[in-house]
Each structure stands twice: as structure tokens, then as C-alpha cells.
Symmetry: C2
Subunit: 93 residues, 2 copies
């Protein structure tokens, strides 16, 4: 799958911040926007996708959803490798 | 999509409890297991799917992932309707 630049990485800010980022991409002519999150931010990623397509842009559809696992080095646990789940939701107009 | 009985509803218990529930379905001959979650349990649902297929049953694949919104009556906020995001991950062997 080719990487596009229209990616919104979900962190700990309020949902509407990321919704606005998605809408800005679509209003700029983007055909696709990818919403990416890991760990506890994953539920917020789904909130963002749902709010974008249900409240603001009804012509936007969920094109695909992928899940995976990233290995990260946790500094809290003495630089041990730990696994964190990831999600990538691709919206298309 | 026909409803099957092989559904694991994710709550707040440890990930391995739900992993074991999925494995038990597959060992009992199930071809498909659906993992369902809403709200903050969504990231745990993905953890469960990833642990099942990466650590225990490598022949299990993610068949489909669906997201949606449920309207729930929040007793905390005076019986107002609030939206909660949902996910359903279907694993198949």
C-alpha cells in the first residue's frame, strides 16, 4: 500500500482536534485520509472516524481498517521490548 | 451478515481471559470468532485479536473489522443519550 501524506496520528488531545485535521485534509482535496493510533488512543481513533463521517462528511466512507502490533522499547521497564497494538483506519471520499 | 454464537464481548478483565475464550471457541471447532467491544475496551479487543493470532494460533486471520456507533442512555448525565464507538473484529481459521 503506498504511503500518502494525509495521515492523522491520534494522541491524547480531544477528539475534535483530530476531526478538524481530517476535515481540513478532505476540504483540501484529499481523496483519502489515514487515521493512525496505538495503545489506549485506539478507541479515540474510532471516535474520530465516526464523528467525521456521521456528523460532518456523510459522503466519507471507511475504506479499510488494519490492525497490527508495534514493538516499542519501554524506558519504564528497563528498556525491555513490549508490544503495543496499532490501528489504521483509511477514510475515503 | 448472519449472527453466530461465537462472540467474545470484551470488558475490563485481563486480555488473557478473552484470549482464552477465543482459543476455546476455535478448539471447539469454530471457523469464526467475533470479538466485540465498545468505548475504552476497544484497544483491548485489538490486543486480544493480536495475541490470539500472533502468539497462539498462527493459522487464524483477521477476516473483517467493522466500526460503528451505539447510542446509550447515560444514567450519570441524567438519562441523556450519548454516543459510544464500537468495534467488531471477526477472526477466521
Amino acid at each position: 500500500m503506498p504511503e500518502s501524506n494525509n495521515a492523522v496520528l491520534i494522541g491524547t488531545k480531544p477528539v475534535m482536534n483530530y476531526v478538524l485535521a481530517c476535515i481540513t485534509f478532505f476540504h483540501g482535496g484529499a481523496k483519502e485520509v489515514r487515521i493512525k493510533a496505538r495503545g489506549r488512543s485506539i478507541s479515540r481513533a474510532i471516535d474520530v472516524a465516526e464523528v467525521v463521517r456521521r456528523r460532518f462528511l456523510p459522503d466519507v466512507k471507511v475504506k479499510s481498517i488494519g490492525i497490527g502490533t508495534d514493538q516499542i522499547t519501554s524506558t519504564e521497564e528497563g528498556n525491555q521490548l513490549t508490544n503495543v497494538s496499532t490501528i489504521e483506519i483509511t477514510l475515503e471520499r
